[in-house]
Structure formats: structure tokens, C-alpha cells
Symmetry: C2
Subunit: 298 residues, 2 copies
DNA sequence: ACGATTGATAGGCTTTCGCTATGGATCTTC
DNA sequence: GAAGATCCATAGCGAAAGCCTATCAATCGT
């Protein structure tokens, strides 16, 4: 049995006429007759009862009509689904990110992506950078957003955005009144920092301070970047944080730019080099285009 | 999309190899590649991720594999169903019959047919002969079993069986002691008869009596042949009944053959001349063959 | 590094497919 | 009631497709 024969038969069955069906199919009548004959021969039974004046369905023909319609419908549905998946409009997308990135600029990107591909099931896995690399390699996730490029050969990295690092101080702190602050001025301050073992960002900030000639004096070390603002407000000291953090804190805290030579935290899109999913490719394409429009985020 | 392409794709997807799939399909490898390419082109997306060493499915390919299997399964199921209907193995069969025929030899025939075609849904419509003719013409039923041939031009009749008419008398009746009875001896008896308006059989019996030189004296007229035995047992008189009735009555009643020249009730299979259903044709064929083996029934 | 294996491509041949022309049968119309 | 119209089936021919062998490019394993 052939889909063409099914289509042809349905046309004849619906029109109750070879001639009209042939017209509907943009076909001449003889090949239509032949195809129906071939179908009947294959099924070993007449499907149509022909008097030379009208065409009626046999019981087998009635069944064939119902089944044929169902088959064509299923074929069309399959085509639509495969096309959608191929276009990256449906499917799944597993993202890896740390809390500070997730609650920073990534949120806007996710919202933008959801608008273009609302049927894609997105899952964000919030975990430490090292685990994200492992998740990518084991195909648990498709894309990670991390600070710094991994060295694995199977992974590709693209700069997603560059975020200026700013100083967070309590409103009451003397530096809060300054328009800008030099990095070296922070040598004598107490610092709230992330755990450098689990955070590329913490290591990066530390290296910046070393470049500026001092090792930051740590008053408090935290695991979750979310905790930093409340500790600053509570007077534990100052902190160097990504600019995007400023969006979510209260007036107890002031943010001041570092000048001159502000440190910049680079966030990278990381994905497998052999990634085939169009969902992933679409997301990456959108991300780079979307972020390209606004070099600085926050 | 073409069923052949679907079959080919499934083979490649399952074998994870064009070469092996081509072997399985009794096909050389190049046309297989081309068909897959055509399918991918039509769906606008790659289904397979080929490195020159192995073949993997893309997400679209995974979906295509599942959907393709479902489609092929549905096609096969449709073919089986249509074939079965075409062979008359499944479908519906609506029979018309009167109670006396139904509970007589027809029961055996139905049992025999059910053994041959257990999937056919049989329905027996028990109704008066005139209604049966109307039901046949309106396509409510496919086959009727009636005594006598109808005159309608669109209907065909075939002799199904010939049943001898026998005399039913109470055990205590003088005729019960006789080995055989002549029809003319019944001229002075009281008769229990069916309503001649609704029964070909009643009319036939009446005409036999007239041929024998008398008009039966009616002591009781009934609508349903089932009532006759109990009336005979109750002493209402005698009755001329189809031989098959004898099967279901008690020892209160005696049945005696009519000799010489026993009347015979002819039962006909009646069906539409333009009947197309193989179920119906099979039933008729079986019936004539089955009944041919035993000219007398009961 | 070299042979073996895999999928893609090219060219030729056979089969299939669709078209026009025509035939046989039935219904309609004058 | 006969002629025309209409319908499906058949015949014959040209075009398109499907399949084959031969070959290429890339990769893997020894």
C-alpha cells in the first residue's frame, strides 16, 4: 500500500466518481482507475462497486476510507512534529548556571527565548561551575553560562556578555559618598567574598586585587552570592560584585564604579561542539544576537 | 512523505548504518542515501547525524522514528482489516426470520456459520414475512428466510430447504395411534392454525387442505407458531406444522406423517440481487452447501 | 601510514507513472 | 426509440523515478 494510492482512493470515495476525483487531484482519469485497481488487487478485494453510472463503496471500501483518512492525518501530524523539532520550535533545553548569573542578565535572555520558542521545555540547573562542565559532557545539560572558558576539547565557548565589576558598600560607609573608587583604595577594607574554590568569579576578583597590589582582607566568606547584599547592609564590609546584582538590592547599599580600569567579569556560553539540537543552536544564535545589541548588561 | 521513505528511514535508524540497512532492505546503498536525503529535504531538517564512521539520530530523527513506526503499524492494521472485510471474515450480517424458522433448522445453520466466521456480528430480526421483505429492500437486513418466493424484482431467492409438514395431535387423540394419516381424514377435525394474513405457511397449509377436498374447521387461530403445541396439548384440536417443530415439544403431543403425498413447506433464502457484502455471499454459499448435504431437515 | 570501511556522488538502465486516444455501457433527450 | 452525452476501462507512448554499478572523500583501526 502506498500513500498516493490512499490519497487517490479517498478522493474517489469522497467524490463518488473517478472523473471528479481525477479533476480534484489534478490528474487524468485513466491513471486514477489504474491506481485504484492496483490497490484493490493488493488488498485482494474490491473497494468500489462500479456501475457505469455511479460509484459506491463496498464494506471493505468503507473501512478503507476511514482507515485511510486516519493514516493521512497521522502522516501529516508526524510531518508537522518532525518539522517543528527540526526548526527548533519544540524540544527540550537544559541550561546550567550559577545563581548569580541566573538571577542576573540570564533572566532577560530566557524571557526573550521563551517568546520565540514557547513550546520548548526549558529547565535551568543551578549548580557550581565544575558540575556544569560535567553535566555538559554527560549530556545532562545542553548549554552552560559560566565565568571563564573551560579547557575541555569537546566544548565550545562564546563570550555572552561582559559585566563590569562594581563596589558594594553600606550607605553609611565613607566610600558611598564617592563618585568613583580606585581598586587600590580597597586594600584596607574588610571584604565579603565568595568561596574561591567554587567560584571563578571570586578567583577573578582576587586576581584583580592582587594586580592592584593587595590581597583582600576577608571578613566573611559565603557560598551563595545571594547572601552578599545582606551582609554588606549589616556592615560586614565591602564587596566587589557583578553590576547586575545592583538590580535586586535595597537602598541600604550603594554601588560605586571602580575607576580607573574597572574589572570586567566575562560570562561565556558553553556548549558541546557536536551539539545537533536545533533548539540549542537557536538559543545560542538568539543569545549572541540578543546580547550583541547591549554589550553591557545589568 | 512516502511510505517507502518511512520504511527506509526506519531501517537506517534501527541499524544505525546505511550499509546494513540497505542489506536488510535488499537494496544497494546509494538509492537508500538518496531516499533519506529526499525525506530530509522534504521535512526541511536532518534526521540523521552522519560522521563517516557512524550514524546517529537527531532529535527530529528520534521523533520521525517513533512516528514512522506508528504509521507503518497503522497501515498494516488497515490492510489487515480491509482484507478481512473483503474476505467476509468480519462485518455485520442482519438476518430476517420468523420464530418458527429461527427456532427450527436455522439455528444449526447459524451455529455452522459462526464457526467459519466468528468475527461477524450476526443479528437476527424476528418479524413477519411482509416486514422482512421491506427490511431487505430498505437494506435493514441482508438475508431473509421465508416460506415462499417474493415477487420483488430486486430480490433473489434460493431454495434453502424443504420441510415435510406433519400432523400434531394430542397423545389421547385417536389419530395418535395411527402410523400415518391421510390429509382428507382431517376434514372433520378441529384445527389450530396460524393467522393466514401474516403467514405464508398458513396459507400454504390451507391450500393443501383445499386440494384435499375440504376447508379446515378452525378452532383457534394464533399469531405465534410457538403457541401451537400448548394448544394442541390442551385439546383444542389438531394442527399441521413443520416437522422441525417436533424437536421442542413434550410427550403430551404426537406427530404423525401425512401419507400419501405429504405436503412440503419450502423455505427460501432471499437477498438483494445487488448485494455486495462478502459476508452475505459467504453466508449464502455456506448455507446452500451446508443444506445441500441434508435435503430434509428437522 | 596504509588498508578497510562508510556514506555521498555520477552515469546508465529498467520500471513506473501519467497522458492522449479510444472502447463499451448506460442514462438522458428529443 | 434512436442519437448524444457521460462514465469507467483499456491501449500505447513519452517522461520521470527508482535502482544498479562504479567511484570518490573521509575516517578508523592496525
Amino acid at each position: 500500500m502506498d500513500l498516493r494510492q490512499v490519497r487517490y482512493f479517498i478522493a474517489v470515495a469522497e467524490e463518488r466518481s473517478f472523473t471528479l476525483a481525477a479533476r480534484r487531484l489534478n490528474l487524468s482519469q485513466p491513471p486514477l482507475s489504474q491506481h485504484i485497481q492496483a490497490l484493490e488487487a493488493e488488498l485482494g478485494t474490491p473497494l468500489l462497486y462500479r456501475t457505469s453510472r455511479k460509484v459506491e463503496l463496498t464494506q471493505a471500501g468503507e473501512a478503507m476510507l476511514l482507515r485511510g483518512r486516519a493514516i493521512l492525518q497521522q502522516v501529516k501530524s508526524a510531518e508537522d512534529e518532525v518539522r517543528s523539532i527540526g526548526a527548533g520550535l519544540v524540544g527540550t533545553l537544559d541550561l546550567g548556571a550559577t545563581g548569580s548569573i541566573l538571577r542576573g542578565p540570564l533572566a532577560d535572555l530566557l524571557a526573550a527565548y521563551r517568546q520565540v520558542a514557547p513550546l520548548v521545555k526549558m529547565t535551568v540547573h543551578e549548580q557550581a561551575p565544575a558540575l556544569q562542565i560535567a553535566a555538559l559532557l554527560s549530556r545532562t545539560t545542553n548549554i552552560s553560562l559560566i565565568r571563564g572558558v573551560p579547557s575541555e576539547r569537546d566544548l565550545t565557548s562564546r563570550l555572552a556578555w561582559r559585566e563590569e565589576v562594581v563596589l558594594a558598600v553600606p550607605r553609611t560607609h565613607p566610600l558611598a559618598k564617592r563618585k568613583r573608587v580606585a581598586l587600590s583604595e580597597l586594600a584596607s577594607e574588610d571584604h565579603v567574598v565568595l568561596n574561591p574554590d567554587s567560584s571563578d568569579f571570586a578567583r577573578y576578583v582576587q586576581s584583580c586585587c592582587v594586580d592592584a597590589g593587595f590581597l583582600p582582607k576577608v571578613s566573611q566568606q559565603v557560598v551563595d552570592a545571594q547572601s552578599i547584599p545582606s551582609l554588606i547592609a549589616a556592615g560586614f564590609g565591602v564587596a566587589l560584585v557583578p553590576q547586575s546584582i545592583a538590580r535586586f538590592t535595597t537602598s541600604d547599599i550603594a554601588f560605586r564604579p571602580i575607576r580607573p580600569s574597572p574589572p570586567a567579569a566575562d560570562v561565556f556560553l558553553v556548549f558541546r561542539q557536536d551539539e545537533t539540537s536545533m533548539v540549542v543552536h537557536n538559543f545560542i544564535k538568539l543569545a549572541l544576537r540578543y546580547l550583541g545589541q547591549r554589550k553591557k548588561v545589568g
